[in-house]
């Protein structure tokens, strides 16, 4: 049975810590992992195995642990984590798991992220890593040294390790990060590490992602032991030899009083010696080799341990834990533990992430990294340096009921079934048996499986190979990587300068791109339909205003600004003339509508372009792309001023009167200020740009003011009993006039001609983006989906998105916009219908609701345009 020794280890015996596993309370010490504390308390058994329900015990000491998965309930919540990597804290509560975790909602713990740069990143603070960090620091480099354990120094720290770590940490330009695991290496010296940061408060661990860019990366992650397979090799009490040594050295825990040790290399005898010195009575050392070194032999002699050469364990025995083993020489050895090391296994999976191959070396029976990259190298035992020569020991003779992957409950027999089925690639065998797919990432099973396959097929292990290692090298929690990017931090929230006004008015908001836009402003418990109807009526019969600040604004300046816009947009803009505004449309190279907006000619070398709310960034990007890559000779500069301006659309028959009151110095009459003109004016004492554009067909003004003055102008307008309206009303008003919303009435497959906007496509000016594509056979087909109006008969409100069919039930198109129109006095809709322009007056059906619709011109309201001048 495992127990805590009275002396030794790196634990702080002055700081006992209480913890609970499966409802039972125990005590450990500061410096323990949960696993070492359990072992110290005599608890070796963990959750039963996932597939066969077999009893299992703690098998490893770190991330190689296949069995001891626990769910943490307090203080940190983790659905599934190996007990071997959990640093013990007071009050820790855990339950053991059978290989399957339990996901449950829990409050989010805080996560942070750090970006760091270094000349040298050293991964692993054992002997090799410390030396590398000292060398780099000595050369004046910025060094980051990370180590997964709470106390760096490697599995078995040397006596001077703590002092060396402290000395390094005290140097300028050196960052030592204990409790930090590098999870993956990526291109160009990029590494991701997770720090389990101790905040000093009990259990208040804060995880930090370190995104490290290093000129040079040194992997010094050491080795673990590789087991081999024999019958019943999964019983509790069977463990990796190196893990037993680590528990002894770090936690002063003796994992068994009378363990049999089985090995195939000389490197194990140092541990034999350490265990014997600590008081273990070893029944035997079972070594697969016929000869061992004299040093190894002298260790056994010194402690009077029987040494069985040329021998392997063939089977373990015991009920709920190992009680004896049978050996290949026919012996049966009573014991209370079995400690295995068939070979040392370099932990160099990180190297394989950046393309350094891991090659099988027969002499050491291990995968060893072969080579380095310009930024990454492996050193120390992880590189294979000083590995003891080992006999190839994979599987005891006739061991069919032996486990290869404890984590996935996969056996030698499973491998045989796969081979019998004809599978030969280790990747197929991995998928068939699931070996190596557990949370331990196949650390103890991957090469073992390859060795068994090779043995069975009579091929060299190197030819068989191992499945490719894929990042991360340790399981890493979703939340750690997600960081704080949830809720409002998932994507930036953009609010206009008038946002607080809208909130005060009780606006219901809509997400448009990253912007929050008021959708409608309900009054006194109004439903959306009621509010929108009221807002629409105000705009058509009185005066209403909308915050249009989210529309993108791009200043296009320079001597060639006009010709540039002629190439970007479908109609001619260079001839616009100062003081004028023109509606325009942008297409992609494929001729499909991508955006629309208005262009103001400020002066001969300055145009102000507006874009859709969602398209602003894409339009600017497209302009920059063409300007920089195709037309560098054009003298044009582009500046986004979306955030500099606030824009208020003032709409309705009374809009001129209201605005005139606030704009005493400028004559706003129809004669003095014509439609599609702009002028500078003082509005409520603010220097403004006012334009006479209308997206509703009503008399309307667009008032542009610097963002800081927006509230002042808005409030001044509000004093005149102007009804605020939102996007929904804006949509109704524009649909009544047959004006499209790009992205709603178009979907990336619609040309201006399909929309009935052929007038905006200039055939007189030269080339523009998309022009050639409009001449392709498919874009000239008469039966393309085309924009039409729909009137339901009898009147009914169609669903946006509703399908439309002809008399045969064939799909003709779909409803893009649908509203109940107060001005028209009935529901109206816009739709894309195949060959729609030629179907005026025809009837189509929305089959879901069985509604008949007459195809009509999309302009439902004031087709003569009488209302725009008031």
């Amino acid at each position: 049975m495992s127990r805590r020794l009275a002396q030794g280890g790196l634990i702080n015996r002055a700081r006992p810590l209480r913890f609970v596993v499966d409802g039972q309370e125990y005590t450990g010490f500061e410096g323990d992992t949960l696993a070492s504390a359990m072992l110290g308390a005599g608890v070796q058994r963990v959750g039963d195995s996932i597939r066969h329900g077999r009893p299992r015990g703690i098998f490893g000491a770190r991330w190689e642990e296949p069995n001891a998965m626990v769910r943490l309930l307090a203080p940190l919540r983790e659905p599934m984590v190996p007990a071997t990597v959990v640093d013990l804290v007071d009050g820790l509560e855990a339950v053991t798991l059978s290989g399957r975790g339990v996901l449950a909602p829990s409050p989010r713990d805080r996560r942070d992220a750090v970006h760091a740069h270094a000349e040298t990143l050293v991964i692993g603070a054992g002997q090799a890593g410390l030396a590398a960090a000292e060398r780099a620091a000595g050369a004046g480099q910025r060094v980051i040294l990370v180590d997964d354990r709470a106390t760096p120094g490697g599995a078995i720290p040397s006596p001077d390790a703590a002092d060396r770590v402290a000395a390094l940490a005290g140097r300028e330009h050196v960052t030592v990060l204990p409790r930090t695991a590098v999870i993956g290496l990526y291109d160009d010296g990029y590494a991701i590490a997770i720090e389990r940061r101790d905040t000093g408060h009990a259990g208040a661990e804060v995880r930090r992602v370190w995104r490290i860019r290093a000129a040079s990366i040194v992997i010094a992650t050491g080795t673990i032991d590789r087991p081999y397979a024999f019958d019943n090799n999964d019983l509790p009490g069977i463990m990796l030899l190196g893990a037993a040594h680590e528990y002894l050295a770090r936690a002063a825990v003796l994992v068994a009083d009378a363990p049999v040790i089985s090995t195939a290399h000389d490197g194990s005898y140092e541990t034999v010696d350490a265990l014997a010195r600590a008081g273990a009575r070893l029944p035997a050392v079972v070594d697969a080799r016929d000869e061992v070194s004299s040093d190894a032999r002298s260790v056994c002699d010194r402690h009077s341990i029987p040494l069985k050469l040329g021998t392997v364990i063939t089977s373990a025995h015991g009920d709920r834990r190992v009680e004896a083993v049978s050996t290949s020489d026919g012996d049966r050895l009573p014991c209370d533990g079995v400690l295995l090391s068939a070979a040392r296994a370099p932990q160099a999976a990180l190297a394989s992430h950046v393309g350094i191959p891991l090659a099988y070396e027969r002499a050491v029976a291990a995968l060893v990294p072969d080579g380095e990259t310009d930024r990454v190298r492996v050193i120390g035992s992880a590189a294979g340096e000083g590995l003891p020569e080992a006999a190839e020991l994979w599987c005891a003779p006739d061991a069919e009921h032996a486990y290869v992957d404890l984590s996935r409950d996969s056996t030698v027999a499973d491998i045989d079934v796969a081979l019998d089925a004809g599978l030969r690639s280790v990747e197929h065998i991995k998928r068939f048996t699931t070996i190596g797919t557990g949370p331990d990432q196949g650390r103890t099973s991957g090469l073992l499986a390859a060795g068994i396959v090779a043995e069975r097929l009579g091929r060299p292990v190197g030819d068989v190979g191992v499945p490719r290692s894929r990042p991360p090298v340790i399981p890493v929690s979703f939340a750690d990587l997600a960081g704080r990017r949830t809720g409002d931090l998932a994507d930036p929230v953009r609010r206009t300068a008038l946002h607080s006004r809208h909130v005060e008015r009780g606006a219901i908001f809509e997400d448009v791109g990253q912007w929050k836009r008021p959708r409608y402003f309900p009054r006194g418990g109004e439903a959306m339909g009621e509010a929108v109807r009221r807002e629409c009526i105000a705009a058509r019969t009185d005066v209403a205003m909308m915050d249009a600040s989210t529309l993108g604004i791009i200043e296009v300046t320079g001597p060639d600004a006009g010709p540039f816009l002629d190439r970007m947009y479908t109609n001619r803009l260079s001839t616009l003339g100062i003081g004028r505004v023109r509606y325009t449309m942008m297409c992609g190279l494929d001729g499909m509508v991508t955006d629309d907006g208005t262009v103001m000619c400020i002066d001969d070398e300055h145009f102000r372009v507006s874009t859709t709310t969602g398209g602003a960034a894409a339009v600017l990007d497209a302009m920059e792309l063409w300007l920089q890559t195709e037309w560098p000779e054009l003298r044009v500069h582009l500046t986004s001023t979306t955030d500099h301006w606030a824009t208020i659309a003032l709409v309705g028959p009374r809009s001129r009167d209201v605005l005139q009151t606030l704009t005493p110095d400028t004559d706003l009459s129809a004669a003095a200020f014509e439609f599609m003109r702009w002028r500078r004016a003082q509005v409520a004492g603010i220097d403004a740009v006012v334009s006479r554009v209308s997206f509703s067909g009503e008399l309307a003004f667009e008032i542009h003011v610097p963002w800081w003055a927006a509230a002042r102008v808005w409030d001044a307008l509000a004093e005149h009993d102007v009804t605020p309206y939102g996007t929904e009303t804006m949509h109704v008003l524009r649909a009544e006039k047959g004006f499209v919303i790009v992205g709603q009435d178009t979907d990336g497959t619609v040309t201006p001609i399909d929309l009935g906007y052929g007038w905006i496509v200039s055939n007189k000016k030269g080339d523009f983006i998309g022009k050639r594509s409009l001449a392709r056979p498919d874009t000239r087909r008469p039966d393309r989906p085309q924009l039409v109006g729909l009137l339901t008969e009898p009147p009914a409100l169609l669903d946006e998105g509703a399908a439309l069919v002809d008399a045969d039930g064939s799909l003709l198109g779909h409803v893009t916009s649908s509203y109940d129109s107060a001005a028209v006095g009935r529901p109206i809709a816009l739709a894309l219908v195949r060959g729609g322009h030629a179907r005026m007056g025809a009837t189509v059906t929305a089959p879901t609701d069985g509604v008949s619709c007459r195809i009509v011109d999309p302009v439902f309201y004031d087709p003569e345009g009488r209302r725009r001048d008031g």
Binding site: R100, P105, F432, L481, P777, G801, H814
Partner: protein
Amino acid sequence: MGTRNASAGDGMPQLADRLWRSAEPAASYDAVIVGAGGHGLAAAYYLATEHGIRNLAVLEHGWLAGGNMARNTAIIRSNYLLEASAALYEHALQLWERMEDDLGQPVLFDQRGVLNLAHTLQEVRDGVRRVEANRLSGIDADWLTPDEVADVCPVVDVSDRLRYPVLGATYQPRAGIAKHDLVAWAYAKRLYDLGVDLIEGCEVTGIETAGGRVSGIATTRGRIATGTVGLAAAGRTSVLTEPLGLALPLQSHPLQALVSELFEPVHPTVVMSNAVHVYVSQAHKGELVLGAGVDGYNGYAQRGSFHVIEEQLAAAIELFPAFAGAHVLRTWAGVVDITPDASPIIDSTPIDGLFVNCGWGTGGFKATPAAGRLFAHTIATGSPHELSRPYVLDRFASGALIDEHGAAAVAH
């Protein structure tokens, strides 16, 4: 010892005692399929069973089904917007529904349904449009309110805590997932039994032509004479056709996915969300399987950028707060070839005897049986099947694109 099921590993059904054995290349074949992924295997299966072409080989440069077939998230659905897409994927779905009967092997096709979430009003419009179009095409489709979404998949957060709250979802109950390895192995076993040569570890180094038609192929294991070559090599198609002067409208990008450790069942369906760029299911054994969009630049390294993974996880726990504590066990990348309209190409080429099945982008797995069947038809008859007629190369000249990208904004 405890109870043992030596059939295979955890969560695997009983398979045939013998699946397939890799063959040695013969000197010549009537036809050669390049790429033993799902599409290549399925094409060979239909060539052998529906067109009587048995003197056939499927070449694979690595291990069978070790490319994108081993790297996808195994989602199967047919709720595409455009008629051409819906017809193709619905044909596939119907073949999936009878695949175990056809092939005689389990593939763990599990019709657990798929939710495509809408997070903006425009996504609602698009979703309704797709549901209505699907129904007209005879495809099962429903529009669900947020509460109904929560009924189908209780772990989805439908509250307004989200940056982009769930406003509804389309739901296709017949959609689902399958076990991709088993699919490949089922085809491989049938092909092996039919006498078709499956040749692993055999990389095509060149396609030989004489007088404007295919005469053979050069491989790392020698020359193979054949007059008919069907490319089903996914991301590597361009590399194979480029030396022939055949430039296809394809770009090869990394597509990443990841898997968690095993959990007790918590996620009963498949959830896809375009606005937050993630799709999630819980596989048969209990692991969460997550996919995201493609990486932003061409790459053949089967390696993606880590920030894509980070963003994907942020999106995942935004939608599924309970997943916060789950762990990434493995990430990986496939190489997908993407066409300008994100729809595939199944066609003959200007080179006689050379056929291409490519450009499946992120949608290849779900199409597997249909892609194979239609490609086999094109190879055997020299002209497209009715369902694959829209998927010809000529559409990039005429402009008759099948633009699901633009039209529905539903990737994958």
